[in-house]
Point group: C2
Chain length 627, copies 2
């Protein structure tokens, strides 16, 4: 069997390979991939790799599924941070004496395996997910996928590097203070930090339970979205902070979006990342956003609370039983130990005082940021070297968290994305932040951002030689919950490409289908009244004089329908229309006085508004006099 280089494959490349080869060949490819990897100390990115037996076991389970070839992750290898339980591999939290053998998968691992993913190993991390550097582990120090002199970023260090090197297309991290974003910046990756509670934390070693979020690393936006679609499942009985996504989450920001950026950014001596961030802000403006520089000090005050305040006591609460066993010192990272043990000293009164402070800050944040759709910040100010971190392990770490530490305390969604390369060849990322549950809208925003920012049409994936069409084209979103939507047929100016289509976007509508009406309608071009936008009127008639008219049907979330209908002027209204299928859905209707007004034209014969408008255009062009 020829050796196949899978480096930099996205999920779709893996799926494509599997669809074109028999299962035995697919298994051999996965097996070769695992065999090519080494665990720490040889390669500090992996703490453990699956055995041939375990791999075969996973494969057999997958093969036993009747729907296996339809699974969106069929045979796609993934890596899992070593504080997340995977049945069959030990969980260490990057501490040998903490090691245990989980009896079941963490909820998110189980969801991914159910959809066909194959776990190939567990990755190194800052011990107990305490750090943003990636060097705080007795299993060794993963370095940036771009430089062995630079840290990988952490705490999800190994998970970032194995994706950046193109070994797996998707890996799992966790993110309490920035652990799923800082390594994305350093390794040229997508780092998706979901809204707190949207991914279950069941089966994950807690850091700060009230703030922890599992996170996704991927090479492309579409792979991040694919994993998000699978992992965003409520787990209320097993995770006290689990929250379901709203049934119709925001899918995109309007084209006239407002983005806030910080007035002042401390770069701590760096000038390269500053350039790239500035260019990213420019790209955001170019995509049509109104970009406003704001005083971010309330958010920076919040960031400080995270390590100065009592939240570190959550780490102590989670780990104190372990420390009481007097684990071997060689298994413990001294910086991590001193941070976590520092959580013992806080009392309840202080905890509440900081909780009041957090709430007071959040009142200010609401006051100054609620007008904005998103925030655009550097992911982290620096790309530190191993040497710099060794010299100042706490200072460098805290500087790296300036733009990440406040995010979970403020209950925001976050998406870290690559923004380009510095003159020294290292990558630099930026992060879009938004309100809770705007995870999908952030993916769409990043997609629009890429199209402007990578204007040459290609984007390098991680540290591989693979490139991606700039779109990082997003997958179709999960269908909205139609019980919570109004199905609306549009017939004229709201059709895709027509001047009022934005009203559907504004109301978070989802396109469903393009059916025709039953054969009992006539269509009229209404005379222009006041406004410049031409509109048709639909009239239901007896079948013997009616025709079928082309429609587009959208699902509009019920809660936005009031906004939509406010925008509908007389003589139009929203009634019901019979589709060719016999189904009735809500639709534009027209008062008789509208289509009987002087100047109205019967355009039924065109079969729809688009055909009619196309014919008008053609006619106008043919009338143009040649120069």
């Amino acid at each position: 069997m020829a050796v196949i280089d899978t480096t930099g494959w996205t999920t779709s490349q893996w799926i494509k390979y599997h669809s074109e080869h028999d299962p035995e060949e697919s298994f051999q490819l996965l097996s070769a991939l695992v065999s090519s990897q080494k665990t720490a100390p040889e390669d500090p990115v992996w703490i453990s790799l699956v055995s041939e037996d375990d791999l075969l076991h996973q494969w057999k389970i997958l093969q036993s599924k009747s729907d296996k070839f339809q699974l969106p992750l069929y045979g796609v290898p993934i890596a899992v941070k070593d504080n997340i339980d995977v049945k069959g591999l030990p969980t260490t939290g990057a501490c040998p004496s903490f090691k245990y053998s989980p009896q079941s998968d963490a909820t998110i691992v189980s969801l991914l395996r159910d959809q066909g993913a194959i776990v190939i190993g567990k990755t190194n991390m800052d011990q107990f997910a305490t750090g943003l550097v990636g060097t705080r582990s007795p299993y060794g120090k993963p370095t940036s996928a771009f430089s062995d002199k630079h840290v990988s970023g952490g705490s999800s260090s190994g998970s970032a590097v194995v994706v950046a090197k193109g070994i797996v297309p998707i890996s799992l991290g966790t993110d309490t203070a920035g652990s799923g974003r800082v390594p994305a910046h350093i390794n040229n990756l997508i780092g998706l930090k979901p809204t707190k509670g949207v991914f279950s934390c069941h089966g994950i070693v807690p850091a700060c339970k009230s703030l922890d979020c599992p996170s996704i690393f991927s090479l492309t936006l579409s792979d991040a979205q694919l994993a998000f679609n699978i992992m965003a499942q409520p787990d209320l009985a097993q995770d006290e902070y689990s929250r379901p996504m709203p049934s119709n989450p925001k899918k995109y920001f309007s084209s006239a979006l407002k983005i806030a950026i910080p007035q002042d950014i401390p770069w701590f001596g760096d000038s390269e990342n500053k350039k790239i961030y500035t260019a990213a802000v420019e790209s955001a403006s170019k995509l049509g956003a109104e970009v406003v520089a704001l005083d971010f000090s309330p958010l920076l005050d919040l960031a400080k609370c995270l390590y100065e305040g009592p939240w570190v006591s959550e780490r102590w609460e989670s780990m104190k039983d372990f420390y009481s066993t007097n684990p071997d010192n060689k298994d413990l990272d001294p910086t991590v130990t001193s941070i976590i043990k520092g959580g013992e000293k806080f009392d309840a009164a202080t905890t509440f005082r900081f909780e009041y402070k957090r709430n007071a800050i959040l009142q200010k944040v609401k006051a100054s940021f609620s007008d904005f759709d998103a925030l655009l910040v550097p992911t982290a100010p620096l790309n530190p070297t191993l040497e710099e971190v060794e010299k100042e392990p706490v200072l460098v770490n805290s500087r790296q968290g300036v733009w990440t530490n406040f995010v979970n305390l403020a209950d925001m969604s976050a998406l870290a994305v690559p923004a380009g390369f510095r003159s020294d060849g290292l990558p630099c990322g930026v992060t879009f932040l938004s309100a809770k549950f705007n995870d999908y809208a952030l993916l769409d925003l990043a997609n629009r951002f890429f199209k402007v920012h990578y204007h040459e049409g290609v984007r390098r994936l991680g540290a591989t030689n693979a490139e991606n069409g700039i779109g990082d084209e997003l997958l179709p979103l999960p269908k909205p919950n139609l019980d919570d939507c109004v199905k609306l047929a549009v017939v004229g100016a709201h059709l895709k490409g027509f001047p009022l289509h934005w009203q559907l976007i504004k109301c978070n509508a989802t396109y469903l289908a393009s059916p025709k009406t039953a054969k009992s309608y006539r269509l009229y071009a209404l005379p222009l009244k006041g406004g410049p936008i031409a509109k048709p009127g639909l009239r239901r008639v007896d079948a013997d004089i009616g025709e079928q008219i082309q429609l587009e049907v959208y699902a509009i979330p019920k809660e936005h329908f009031g906004t939509f209908i406010s925008l509908v002027p007389e003589p139009l209204g929203i009634g019901s229309v019979e589709l060719e299928s016999g189904e009735w859905v809500k639709s534009f209707i027209c008062e008789e006085i509208g289509y009987k007004a002087k100047g109205t034209e019967d355009i039924t014969s065109f079969g729809g508004w688009k055909n009619y408008q196309d014919s008008l255009k053609k006619h106008a062009e043919s009338q143009k006099k040649p120069f």
Copy 2:
């Protein structure tokens, strides 16, 4: 000047008196009221009363207002619990050595004074609002307004008693664990515990800052609602937990509401309150609610957290500086001191552990209670005697909190209401609970409950001889925010009294006006199709053949409009109608095919659907054959 007995006056009686007398007489009446009262130790309900000077000062400020006679509380005397700042009177928290002179009013006091209220004094309370009995104060022990052998309930003891005795119609309390509800039960009062954050806590001595709610005592529902309307104002800059009411809060539960009651209720030997509670549940059924007995153990587990868990450390955080001054022991209630000092012992890790526990319980609560509109519970199980409390100060107190302690931890709205009298003449109350921001809906529910429960048509107010028509008729609610509403004209079956009016109620609609259309409409009775409900169709025509048609206009919150329009069948739809004023509002319109169908009747000459239906009824009656 004749002496006028103001005992048991509600706000409307005070307003009426003032409107019929000159300001000098009004002032004299208030002055006489204040003079008739004594402070502790003579009367333990008052810690301080305003001086003649202060009263005159308040009166002069009121007289200087140009709109004074329009103010809803013009010259209405109120009492304020002594942990709430009133400029001009000391704040003690029922601890002499804690006393300070506030430089400004608490936000809620200022809001009430702005609307004409006159503060006449500060009331006694369980020290630092720590207790549900009312006996924990060096200023003496207020007793039940019904018995000098029974405690008043607390911690808002004095505020409850001065309303129950009819001295003032409204008083302010605070409610962290039940302090605004338990005394309402013991003194036959309305006790409104709003949604956390809806009333500002600025200028109030904190107990548990994350849970504290100012509260209202009143004799009638309408007075509670009046005070609520005034006090429900966001104060985001001064209260870190302040939250604005939603712009269109729920105003009523549907007539087919579901109420949960506890499966098991510990009565601790009492049998009298049990009878009254059982009768109240029966009344709830009679008003059309589906009443379901549920396992309340998740909520009872939550209740236990409040005193067993670290929330008591909030009291310590608020008071530790004061205790560090070594205040005189005679100023301190020993039970309160030991409870608050108990808050010193909790550490941050424990605090977080209990916060996890609270969240896990709330996940269960959501799972079992989210189908219910409201919960109906006893306000408190007992009407304890002074002797009983003296014997077992902590045990009795904790029993009284069974049904109140969990409410703020679960972020609920609460309304305690009188439910009748026991065979020993003591009163007993019940409490309706609901989700946050359902405060208005609870007032409406209590109003409906009273109509069924007090079926003889009268309800004794507090411990006075005054009685109230059972309705406790509610005031018109504040107008909804029309920016967040769709104004909809209804023309047929949605009119008040017609069969589809419930659809407006379901969508939380507010009646605005009954205008006519412009003179360019015709109205048709549509043939019955399938359904049994007769409907008209409105047709816009040229003015020369049109008439004016009677409408009713409602404001429907935008977020509910999608639900509303789903209920509108063809040939009807929602378009726009021109009113006689020239304004255009959304309205029912009708497809031409509807009013041109066979069997349609032109009923324009009736001027509206109601007139037409009335004429049909008359005709039907005249056709009835006599027996």
